[in-house]
């Protein structure tokens, strides 16, 4: 490693932050682009499972709230792709890579939504898992990303409440409604345990070394379990992992080791809904191409 890179590394490791125009090592830039682009892709792909439910949401209030949440998530994608653009990769290139299957997005958006219970579990628990990661990104060494994360976290807190409200309405309803939530939780527990990634130790994780991420994967998962397992159990729901328990001595949550090979397969486009979602994204990209042309012609 050359001196300049070494100095840069020491700077970020001592809490220093980097701005768009500052010099940065190529590896740092490449890792930022890959990570932030995946975040943008996830925001954009994450609205597709929810979009399916706007027309099927049970009340007008729910339809409106769901629409607002979707609007927020697409807005997050806009903010995030803008950060990627300043790092050197244009938004159109991100979208090209996304629809060609080269770009990645979060594992949870590769799964289908079977019932309204799934929508509640996604809005509550998937967003809760996401906010654990996003709050840690408020300390990202790349300042422009950390700054927009403030706005994103602020909006996510409304999403979690919306999700929790959907779940509470169902678990206080009929037995059939309660069962919808239990079944959805059974389906979503594995993807939720996959969400924060394999437990690579912080000192071996290059994302932590560069201070792009401020916490290890396992730390994020523990934080999620600590915050949400009690909230799930108090509703009388059963978490589909008999091994899940808190070791009171060490204060850590123990659980059945998730299948990490399966996670790898899902995020490389082999999830149960990967194909369908990408096909839809491709279709909508073609459908709205005329808007971009019209806007650019109007401005010219």
């Amino acid at each position: 490693m050359d001196t300049r890179t070494q100095e840069f590394l020491e700077y970020v490791q001592s809490g220093g932050q980097v701005e768009t125009g500052d010099w940065m090592p190529d590896e740092y830039r490449a890792r930022l682009i890959k990570f932030i682009e995946m975040h943008g892709n996830s925001e954009l792909m994450g609205v597709l499972p929810e979009r399916d439910w706007i027309l099927r949401a049970p009340t007008l209030q729910r339809k409106l709230a769901l629409t607002a949440k979707i609007q927020d998530e697409v807005g997050h994608a806009q903010l995030i792709y803008r950060v990627v653009e300043d790092l050197g990769k244009p938004r159109s290139a991100c979208l090209d890579d996304l629809v060609s299957g080269k770009g990645k997005f979060h594992n949870v958006f590769h799964y289908p939504t079977k019932t309204w219970g799934d929508v509640g579990v996604i809005a509550w628990l998937v967003d809760a898992a996401a906010i654990v990661s996003q709050k840690a990104l408020l300390k990202c060494s790349y300042a422009p990303y950390a700054r927009i994360m403030k706005k994103i976290c602020w909006e996510e807190s409304f999403h979690i409440l919306h999700g929790r409200d959907v779940i509470l309405a169902l678990v206080t309803g009929t037995d059939e409604q309660f069962e919808l939530v239990q079944e959805a939780l059974d389906r979503w527990w594995e993807p939720l345990m996959h969400f924060h990634g394999n437990p690579i130790p912080a000192d071996e994780d290059p994302m932590v070394t560069w201070r792009i991420k401020s916490q290890a994967n396992e730390e994020a998962r523990q934080q999620f379990l600590e915050g949400y397992v009690p909230q799930i159990l108090e509703l009388g729901l059963t978490i589909p992992d008999p091994a899940l328990r808190k070791d009171e001595e060490s204060g850590t949550w123990l659980y059945t080791e998730p299948d990490w090979e399966k996670l790898r397969a899902v995020v490389t486009g082999h999830g149960p809904a990967s194909e369908e979602r990408l096909a839809f994204r491709r279709l909508s990209r073609e459908d709205v191409a005329w808007v971009e042309q019209a806007v650019l012609a109007e401005a010219a």
Partner: protein, 99 residues
């Protein structure tokens, strides 16, 4: 074109840099900024500035160490002690034991 967006959260507060939008012209930039930084009533005002209109200064050399212009340029403790001694007012100094 890239427009830098500054937002004011409440009247009387400073405008703070929020992020940027890409837009083909100023009219579109206004629409995008309104949508991305104001649609949830999180701002009372936005400023849009084309990126190339921003001139940045980020070096402030202090070759002569002009410390006399800053508070850390003054160390008055020893001299104050001497002055109080001379005036016989050491017991009036803040923190001096009073009987």
């Amino acid at each position: 074109m890239i427009y830098e967006v500054f937002r004011q959260e409440r009247k009387g507060q400073p405008f703070q840099h929020a992020g940027s939008v890409t837009a083909p012209d100023g009219a579109f930039a206004e629409i995008y900024a309104r949508e991305q930084y104001g649609r949830r009533q999180e701002s009372v005002a936005l400023w849009l500035v084309p990126r190339e209109a921003v001139s940045e200064i980020d070096e402030f050399p202090d070759e002569f160490e002009l410390k006399y212009r800053r508070v850390d340029g003054y160390s008055i403790k020893a001299r104050l002690h001497e002055a109080r001694e001379r005036a016989g007012t050491l017991d009036m100094a803040p923190g001096a034991a009073s009987e």
